[in-house]
Amino acid sequence: MKIVGIVGSNAAFSYNRLLLKFIAKKFGNLIDVEVLDIDKVPMFNQSNDQTNSEAIQHLNKKIVAADGVIIATPEYNHSIPSALQSALEWLSFKIHPLDGKPVMIVGASYDVQGSSRSQLHLRQILDAPGVNAVVMPGNEFLLGEVHKAFDEEENLKDANTVQFLEGCIKKFIRFINVVRIVDAPDGMKDVSSTEDLYATGKIDTTIEGIDMEAEDWVEQAAVATGAVEGDAYVKLDRGILTVNQLNYFLNSMPAELTYADSNNQFLYYNRMYEAEDMLASRTPAQVGNPLAQCHPENAFSSVAWVIQQLRSGKEDTVRAHVPTHGPDKFVVHSYQAIRDDEGNYLGINEYVQDIKPIIDWYLKQTGQQLTGGDVDAVSGATEKVDTVSGATAQG
């Protein structure tokens, strides 16, 4: 899960920055936190629009691509610092990256209050229509007397505090998933129970007697079935290829292909690259796993929902833009139903592509341009935003 941590102060040294760095380090097994500073963000002025400046666009892109945002704020004069206020004004003026984004608030201060009043202000600010973030309720993390809170290695000293913080972070992960369900097309409920994601069932082609989670499932299953390989010929619907030819052919496809059968077992992917170089990483040892083992638990509902669309015949394809690779790529996960001649559901062909080069090529070939998104032509072109209630038009 990708989280952006925003340091709410522009000060050269900030305990709130330290706190975010500690969260990133300590809970790296739970979330992937990137800590961002706002010290380069100019003072907001509605008469001098600097939305397209590098500092604001950098924040914008990082927030858009994140699953959630943690803001760490100090307290100045019973409120949040003007630097944070200014950043939030820019992010609610012409662009609205926090709209619908799950946000968790933490804060540290030198006094005993631990930023108590500024956190309440921040909640109200994030709730304004122009910002429209989805702030996690409760779970207030206030770190008072912060100058005494860290040891030399910049770790929080008090074990109870760390434990409480861990609880807050875990709730935030759940909260992000709740927000996802709210925003999902079918919303409202957890539909993970509609699919047997642990592949406990059996279909005609299920290879029995082998541990699905074994790292060498492919090798074991090949022995059990006497599967052909190498130069052996395979007769296809309209053609004959050797297994090698078939492999090279699939590996030359302009997409990462994954086959999961109708029993929700992951059977195949075209291994062109190592996991870290893939748009959606897969490892050789994962093949054979039930889909439940290939996704974090918090994604089960979404996975089940997608499979249901395909299995029920409601959709032949479900697509999702997964903003994992920044603005230079536009990664689309397409879930294509695999059906037999009678239309029976056999499984999913998930193909993952970066479609940006194709769009760029099309635009170049036809001399056309994208319009309507001077901020970010790819990801910002779709939504018309309501600026009336943001920072724009309020006197």
């Binding site: 907001f44 630097a83 200014s86 202000h121 600010i125």
Partner: protein, 202 residues
């Protein structure tokens, strides 16, 4: 006659809060000398190592000290006050602290119906912080909603009821300034000037 400093709480070129203060300045010219003050050139707050106010902040600070009372008119951005106003107050609290014990009246205008109600509530809490410690006039609120339509061509509030309301509040403020200045001269707050820091506030 009383001297008041009226601070425009935004850096925007177009501001119905500026218009409101201009109206107040003109309408109450016989009751007080009101000087309008713009904060748009005050730099963004960043904790200065030596705690010295930049020239712009020192200038504002001097004006506040000289004034008998201060009026702040704020728009509402995101349920709160604009960053530029907040930044200005941070400078004042971190450096010269001229607002300590200073009588302050709040007004606000917004394009929508609510007239900056939430911004004023935040501003009250901010000015109440010990390092600002302004003496804000209690139980008073002046909100101008639909502020783009609220003035005639001469910049006068077009609703006579609104003017009446403002006159009531302004007269009260004149008395409030007097009473407050008597109160604080008899029992002044200890100025924390040059020693305050959010870092040493244990």
């Amino acid at each position: 006659m009383m001297n008041l400093l009226a601070i425009v709480g935004t850096n925007s070129d177009q501001s119905t809060n500026r218009k409101l203060l201009q109206f107040i300045q003109k309408h109450f010219a016989e009751k007080a000398n009101i000087e309008l003050y713009e904060i748009k050139d005050i730099p963004a707050f960043n904790k200065p190592v030596d705690k010295t106010a930049p020239a712009e902040v020192q200038d504002l600070s001097d004006k506040i000290r000289e004034a008998d009372g201060v009026i702040i008119s704020s728009p509402e951005y995101n349920h709160s006050v604009p960053a530029i106003l907040k930044s200005t107050l941070e400078w004042l609290s971190y450096t010269t602290q001229p607002l300590i014990d200073k009588p302050v009246m709040l007004t606000g205008a917004s394009y929508g119906r609510l007239g900056s109600s939430r911004a004023q509530a935040h501003l009250r809490q901010i000015l109440d912080a010990p390092e600002l410690k302004a003496r804000i006039m209690p139980s008073s609120e002046f909100l101008v909603g639909f502020s783009l339509q609220a003035y005639d061509e001469d910049g006068k509030l077009s609703d006579p009821k609104k003017i009446e309301e403002l006159e009531g509040i302004f007269n009260e403020f004149i008395h409030f300034v007097d009473i407050t200045n008597q109160l604080v001269s008899a029992n002044p707050s200890q100025q924390k000037t040059q020693s305050f820091s959010w870092e040493k506030n244990e």
